[in-house]
């Protein structure tokens, strides 16, 4: 059994290779760009969370205490827009994906480093324009911009916000394009398609959705803007236009977009589950292809958002069946993860806690999706808090947890420092408890009839208020659970324990180079000779006398 030398922490790495603001703002290094994104995304997440807290506070009592309905409309709209377009969609791909896609396939950078930097500027420009719109007066259409309200009646900054989203969309397109080309053309020698880590497959599938879906939302927003500007009539029934056409175009992107949010999270979780169980993933090819299946099927189900919007019953039935079908590849993943856990030697480090949390919460989110995909039950549940709970289970319980798990898992590689493990586990627990307390009462509320997007409810329904109070209490706990990592991650950048090159003792390529990595990622192009997640059987470990076996990498 060969032993492989892991490079010692190098004196120069990507973080200290150059100094100064300019060296960051003009960098073409995918790792630095990932950090730029990390900053931007955290900022928008913070703003979005403030709106969330304001919404929860308002709902504490049945009356309107804090806001009038017009202000409330703006609050949930702006919460939704910031969270969806400026946090969830770029979150994992633009930070972890940007950092890791080249490292995991053994490349020096993404295929188009300049376009990568451009995408960050585009994202920030879109974000700043949107923030401007919020400060100037805000927007109140809901994140869905339904016509004709958005085109004709709304008296708010629809065009400026729309333009912000339109611009940010191009950063998504460019990121997807960069990933696809990189994964196709820049894999290290020996890195065949079926040796790719599942994180890469997930990002490949996500990129497909990004390039196929995002242009459609771009043209849709443009049409809304022109309609508002010049009253052309394309979505206006008075001129023969069709407002439901907008809904079709919008959801043709926005349903697949929910998979832009969750597929990369699934990629992270596949890494966490396999690596922290020290086992090869169960059914590698099934997990890999289920990502592609989700990307493809995800494009065929948009009509399930229009079951109660004048869609014909036959179209409704077909969209219902297809929506059930898209749950299959999602379930394949969940079953494969659980099978991977079976008889693994599991360690419950912070990233793994997040990973396990993801599995549970995503399952609940997916199963409640089935309630919504059934025509009859959806008529009752549509536009209630049940919907709100459903998608928060997937977007927060799923994507956000996976994002945090991934951030902790790769933090030693990114920063070269360890985060404090005790605090990590503690806050993971708080997040989990806070999250469930926030959103599980909302299922019940929705089932009982509480509509979404209202800031008051009948005062004589005591059970409603109890549930709302629970939810607001949960949100506060969740908020604390999110603040703790914010503090200790920043703290650890300076004071954390110095991380080894491979602190988790794993075979993945990204662990076979220094922490933090040098600018060119590897000292020499790695040559890959084994599958992803190849852990030595227990006997082999003893022979070697260490707890891990490194994947052979020629250094």
């Amino acid at each position: 059994m060969e032993e492989f030398e892991v490079p010692r922490p190098p004196r120069t790495n990507y973080l200290n290779a150059e100094y100064g603001v300019k060296s960051w703002l003009l960098t073409k290094d995918h790792k630095r760009i990932a950090l730029l994104y990390l900053g931007g995304i955290s900022f928008f997440f913070f703003i979005g969370s403030l709106y969330a807290m304001a919404i929860r506070l308002e709902l504490l009592t049945p009356q309107a205490d804090l806001t009038q309905s017009s202000t409330y409309n703006k609050m949930f709209t702006q919460h939704g827009i910031i969270m969806v377009f400026f946090f969830l969609i770029p979150s994992i791909p633009a930070t972890l994906g940007n950092f890791l896609v080249p490292m995991m396939i053994g490349a020096k950078d993404l295929a188009f480093p300049r376009i990568n930097l451009l995408s960050w500027y585009i994202y920030m420009l879109g974000g700043i324009l949107t923030i401007y719109a919020l400060l100037a007066g805000g927007v109140d259409t809901g994140w869905t911009f339904y016509t004709p309200y958005s085109t004709t009646f709304s008296n708010s900054y629809v065009i400026a916000t729309g333009l912000g989203i339109f611009i940010a969309g191009f950063s998504s397109i460019l990121t997807g394009l960069n990933f696809i080309v990189t994964i196709h053309t820049m894999r290290a020698p020996g890195m065949t398609w079926f040796r790719l880590p599942l994180f890469i497959w997930a990002h490949y599938a996500t990129s497909l959705i990004m390039i196929l879906g995002t242009p459609v939302i771009a043209i849709t927003i443009l049409l809304v803007a022109f309609e508002r500007l010049a009253h052309i009539g394309i979505f206006d029934p008075a001129a023969g236009g069709d407002p439901v056409l907008f809904q079709h175009l919008f959801w043709f992107y926005s349903h697949p977009a929910v998979y832009i949010m969750v597929l990369p999270a699934m990629g992270v979780v596949s890494e966490l589950i396999a690596n922290f169980s020290r086992k090869n993933i169960f059914g590698y090819k099934f997990v890999a292809f289920s990502s592609l299946a989700i990307a493809v099927f995800g494009f065929l189900v948009w009509g399930h958002h229009m079951f109660v919007a004048s869609q014909s019953i036959y179209a409704g039935m077909i969209f219902s069946i297809l929506s059930f079908a898209v749950a299959i590849p999602s379930a394949v993943k969940v079953f494969n993860w659980t099978a991977t856990l079976h008889k693994g030697s599991i360690s419950y480090d912070t990233p793994m806690l997040y990973g396990l949390g993801f599995i549970g919460l995503f399952t609940i989110g997916g199963l409640t999706g089935m309630f919504l995909a059934s025509l009859a039950t959806d008529v009752h549940l549509s536009d209630t808090y049940f919907i709100v709970a459903h998608f928060h289970y997937i977007m927060v319980g799923g994507t956000l947890l996976a994002y945090l798990g991934g951030l902790h898992y790769w933090w030693p590689k990114i920063s070269g420092r360890m985060y404090p493990e005790g605090w990590g586990r503690f806050s993971a627990l708080i997040v989990f408890v806070g999250f469930n307390l926030t959103f599980s009462p909302q299922f019940v509320l929705g089932y009982m009839g509480m509509p979404r997007r209202y800031h008051t409810y009948p005062a004589d329904l005591v059970s409603w208020q109890v549930l709302h109070v629970l939810s607001t209490a949960g949100a506060s706990i969740l908020g604390v659970g999110l603040l703790i990592p914010l503090i200790y991650l920043i703290w650890s950048m300076r004071y954390g324990r110095i991380a080894e090159a491979n602190p988790w003792h794993l075979p993945g390529l990204e662990w076979q180079t220094a922490s933090p990595p040098p600018t060119q990622n590897f000292y020499e192009t790695p040559i890959v000779t084994s599958e992803a997640y190849e852990f030595a059987p227990p006997e082999a470990k003893e022979v070697v006398g260490r707890f891990e076996r490194q994947r052979p990498v020629k250094i």
């Binding site: 242009p215 849709t220 009539g233």
Partner: protein
């Protein structure tokens, strides 16, 4: 043979245009080409939204679309179609000339392609101006000149809502306008390529940028090949019989 390959590869690997993160020229060229193809896919989806709107409203209001379409200038549209087809040919020749190392020819063909592109845009501008004259610009896009054609000149059959005709014109302007924007960008790209060609940047070993720009140019041409019949040729055989 193997040695030959090794030396050509080495030669390619040290080419001055090789960016640091690629292993060799071949990988760089592949990445660039694939990147352009992927970008063109996004373009198809972008135009796709408008094609969907077109399909929906045309099937909803076939007569209004035919009436409106008959008012487009088929001669100018036809000439423009020919102009673009020829420009695709000259573009292909420019790529070919670069590949075989004929610098002078490649520059001439690039200039011809750009000239044809500009011709197209000029003719398009004349058409737009005619529509402006006839108050056919939809909505209030042009402030002070709302959509207000004379029903007589349009040969509008009695009872047909003018709003449906306006929808056609909106789609016409959205699609051809977006296409024209792409043409302008294309001419911009080609002028950069031409400058690089004049400076002798390209050779049989390194011509990927010319090829990739060519892909873009052909794509924009193909979009027009779809737009022309869909917008200009509706119910031509019925011309004058609708009213």
């Amino acid at each position: 043979m193997a040695e030959d390959l090794a030396t050509t590869q080495e030669h390619a690997a040290t080419h001055s245009a090789l960016q640091h993160h690629f292993e060799n020229m071949e990988q760089q060229r592949e990445a660039g080409t694939l990147g352009m193809w992927v970008f063109l896919v996004t373009e198809i989806m972008f135009f796709g939204g408008m094609f969907l709107a077109y399909t929906l409203y045309r099937s909803k209001y076939p007569e209004a679309f035919a009436v409106a379409s008959n008012h487009l200038d088929i001669k100018l549209g036809g000439i423009n179609t020919a102009v673009l087809i020829v420009s695709s040919f000259t573009m292909a020749m420019a790529v070919f000339s670069t590949q075989v190392g004929k610098k002078r020819n490649s520059i001439i063909f690039l200039l011809m392609t750009m000239a044809l592109g500009l011709t197209f845009l000029g003719i398009k501008a004349i058409e737009y101006h005619d529509k402006y004259r006839d108050s056919l610009i939809p909505g209030t896009l042009i402030p002070g000149r709302p959509f207000n054609p004379s029903p007589h000149e349009l040969h509008l059959p009695p009872g047909m809502p003018i709003g449906n005709v306006e929808l056609f014109y909106w789609i016409y302007f959205a699609m051809t306008g977006m296409h024209a924007l792409h043409m302008i960008i294309g001419v911009g790209i080609l002028s950069v390529i031409t400058i690089l060609a004049v400076r002798g940047r390209f050779s049989p070993e390194y011509h990927a940028p010319v090829e990739i720009s060519g892909l873009y140019w052909h794509f924009v041409d193909i979009v027009w090949i779809f737009l022309f019949p869909l917008l200009y040729l509706l119910g031509r055989h019925l011309a004058g019989h609708l009213g």
